[in-house]
Symmetry: D3
Subunit: 163 residues, 6 copies
C-alpha cells in the first residue's frame, strides 16, 4: 500500500522534504463548477456586458489565492509561481439551471508540483462567485472540483479521466 | 429582478455598506464532500486509528481559513467569529469508492452573516484532505459544497433543500 | 506643542490605547492621482470599454488593502469596516498627459478613525494601476495622496482645504 | 500600440507568464515625499534625536511591505528579495512647510523586476509617517511617488527623467 | 479533572464557542527574557545610544504580531485590541552574561482574554532581538516566557507567582 | 568588535543584502520547552491516546509559522523551505512538574540560513500548547528556546554547547 507522504512513520503530519528534488517546469490545470439558476446567470451576464465585475472579481481572488496557497494549506511548500490564468465559461442547463465552469492553469519552475495552487485558485474563484451572487440566490452549489492535468516532476504527466 | 448587492449601479464591485445593520447572532452551517477511492479511505482510517493527522490537519486548516475569510474573498466583511466547528464523516460507496463528508458550523455576533466563513472552512478542509492524499490518488474530486442552513440577520432563517 | 500619540514619553513607538474611547460612526474619504501619458490613458480607456480590468483590478486591490490596513501599518488598530467604495475618474491634461483620480470612502463603527484605511485604499489602488501599466510606460507618477474629509470621534469633522 | 501585459487578448486580468524568462540580478530604486508643516517636522526631528521612532517605524513598515508586495498587488509575482534599504531625508521648505524624502532600493535575483517592491516600500513608509503624525497635523500630503531607476531583465536599464 | 476547552468530547480541536460570553475589559501582561553575553549587550546598548534599532525593531515586530495572534495560533479568536505596549530592560549578569527583559501589556474589550496576544508579543519581540544579534552571537537563548497577570472575564484576576 | 549585520553604518535597521551569497543547502535545528504541572501533562497524554490534538495542533501551527517567518520577523529574508519537522517529547519531573520538549528541523536551499525559521517553529508550537492548555493551568512557562545546530552557508556548522 502506498503511503501518505505528508504523514511520517509515527503518523504525524509533516511537510515532505523536497530538498533533493530537482527543480523542473511544472504545469497544473484544474476545473470546478458553480451551479446557479437561470436568473442568477442572467444577472451575471448582464453585469458582464457592462463591467464583468462578478467574474472579474472572482478571477483576481483566484489568482491571489493561488499565490498564497502555502499559507492556506498547512503542508504545502512555498513556490514562486511564474503564471496563473483563470477562465470562465457560462452555459444554460435544462430546468431553469445554469452553470459557470472555472478552469485554472498554473505554472512554476520548482521542486514540487502546483496542483494545490491550481485547485485553490478554482475553489476561491468559486467561493467569490458564490459571495457575489448570494444576495440573489441562496442555494448555490459548488461542484466537481478536480485536477485536469499536470506535468513536470518525477511522477510525470497526469490527465484526469472521468469515471 | 433582484440585484447583486456587491455591485453598485455603475456595475462596479464594492463592499456592501452594512453600517446601518444591527449586530445579531449569526449561525451558518455548510457541507461538502471529498470523493476518494476505497484504498485512500482505508489509508486515512488507518492513520485515524493512530493519530488522525489527515482529518486533524484538515480541521485546523478549515478553522484558520474561516478566520481569514475576509482576507481571501475580496468583498467579505471582517468579522469576529465566536466559534468554528468542523466535522468529518467517512463512508464507503459502491464500486470501490469512498467519500468524506465535511460539515462546518460558524457562529458570530455581527452585522453580516457567516455563510462565506462556513463555506470557506469546508473548501479549505477539503483542499487539505486532497493535498494530504494526492500522493496516493491523483483523481480525487471535491463535490457538492453548499450552505446547509443559516440564521440571524434581516433575511432570516434559510434551510437548503436539495432539488 | 502637541504630541505624537503613537510615541510614548520615552520616545518609543506604541499603539495608542483607545480602550476608553466610545465607538462612534466613522467616515473617511481620501484621494490620490496617477499621472500617465495620453497613450497609456487611451489603452486603459479602450480596455475599460471591454472589461475594465485595469481599474477593476485596482478597485479590488484597494478594497482588500483597506481591510488589511492594521496588518500593513504598524501602529494602526484593527477595525471591522462596514463599507469601502473606490472610484476612478480619468481626464486628459495638456501636453500629452493624462491622469486618473482615485477616491475612496471608508465607513466603520469603532473606537478609532478610518483615515489610514481610506489612504491605504487609494495608495494600493494607485500602485495596482502602476503595475498594470508599467509595461507601456515607465515614468508613471503617483501624486497628491491626502485625506478629503473625515467625521466621527472626539476630534470631530475635518475637511481638507488645499493650500 | 503597445499592450498591457497583465491583460490578455480577451481583456481579462492575468499574471504575465514569466516561465521562460531567465533569472537576472534586478535592482530598483523608488522615491516619494511626505509634505508636512514645519511644526510636525520639528516634532519628528526632536523624536529623532531621542529614538527616531517615527522614521524607524516607517522604515520597518516599508521593508515588511516590500516583502509582501505580491500579496498586496494582485498581478505581482512572488519574489525572494535579497535586500531592501529605505532612507529618509528631511528638509525645510519656504512658507512654514517641510518635507521628508523617502528613497528605497530593492534587489533580487529573479525572473521579474522589483519596481513594484520599491514603490510599495516607499508608499507604505509614507503612509506610516502619515499615521504617526496625523495626531498633530491633519492635512499631510503624500507626493510624487515614482521609480528612480531600475536595471536587470530584458528591458534593460531605466533612469527616470523629470519632465 | 478539568477539561481542555479547545478539545471537544471526541478529542478533536475546535475554537471554543464564546458567543454567550459578555464583552468585558481585558488586560494581560506577559514577560520573557533574552540571554546574551556581555559583548552583545554592549553592542545593543551602543546602538541604543544612537538609534535604538534593535529594540525598536523588536518592539514593532511584537506589536504587529500581537495584532495577528489569531492568524498565528490556530484556536485563538480574532479580537480588536485597544492597546499594546512593549518594554525592554537590559541588565548585566555575572560571568560575562547579560539579559534583556521583555514585558508586554495588551488591552481589549472583548469576549475572550488577551493572554495569547501578550505572550505572542513577547515571543516575537524576543525572536526579533535574536535575529538582529545572531551575526555576533550564535548561542543566544530565549527564556522564561510566561503570563505576569491578567484581568477581566469570568475567570477573574490572575497574578503569576514564581515557584 | 563584530557588527550587527541588520544595522547599517548610520545605526538604521535594514535587510542584510544577500545578493552575492551563493545558495547552499541549509539545515537548522532548534529546541524549546513548555513547563506544565503533572495534571496538565496527564490531560495531554490522555488526549494523545485518543487523537493527539494538542500536540497535533501545535505541530501544524509551528510548520505554518516556519513558512511565514519572513512575514513575522521584520529583517528576515523570504525563503522557499524544502522541509519542516517538529517533534515532541513529554516527561515527568520531580515535584509534580512535567515538561514537553519541542524540537524542530528546517531545511532549505537558499542564500540565508534557516535558524529563525527553526526558532519560530518552536516558539509558535510552544505558544499553541500554552493556548490549548491555559484553561486547565494558568502558570505555564515556556523555557530555554535556542538553536541546537545549523549547517550550510559561509559561517559553516554550529553546534550549541550548554554553558
Amino acid at each position: 500500500m502506498e503511503k501518505l507522504t505528508h504523514i511520517d512513520k509515527q503518523g504525524n503530519a509533516r511537510m515532505v522534504n523536497v530538498g533533493e528534488k530537482m527543480p523542473t517546469e511544472r504545469i497544473a490545470e484544474a476545473v470546478g463548477y458553480v451551479l446557479i439558476n437561470k436568473e442568477t446567470l442572467e444577472i451575471i451576464i448582464k453585469g458582464q456586458n457592462k463591467k464583468g465585475e462578478v467574474l472579474g472579481t472572482a478571477r483576481i481572488a483566484g489568482i491571489m489565492a493561488a499565490k498564497r496557497t502555502s499559507d492556506i494549506i498547512p503542508m504545502c511548500h512555498s513556490l514562486l509561481l511564474t503564471g496563473v490564468d483563470i477562465d470562465f465559461e457560462m452555459s444554460e442547463l435544462a430546468d431553469n439551471q445554469g452553470k459557470i465552469k472555472i478552469t485554472s492553469r498554473v505554472t512554476c519552475s520548482g521542486k514540487t508540483g502546483v496542483e494545490m495552487e491550481a485547485l485553490t485558485a478554482v475553489s476561491v474563484a468559486a467561493l467569490t462567485i458564490y459571495d457575489m451572487c448570494k444576495a440573489v440566490q441562496r442555494d448555490i452549489c459548488i461542484e466537481n472540483i478536480h485536477l485536469l492535468k499536470k506535468s513536470g516532476g518525477k511522477s510525470g504527466e497526469f490527465i484526469y479521466s472521468a469515471l
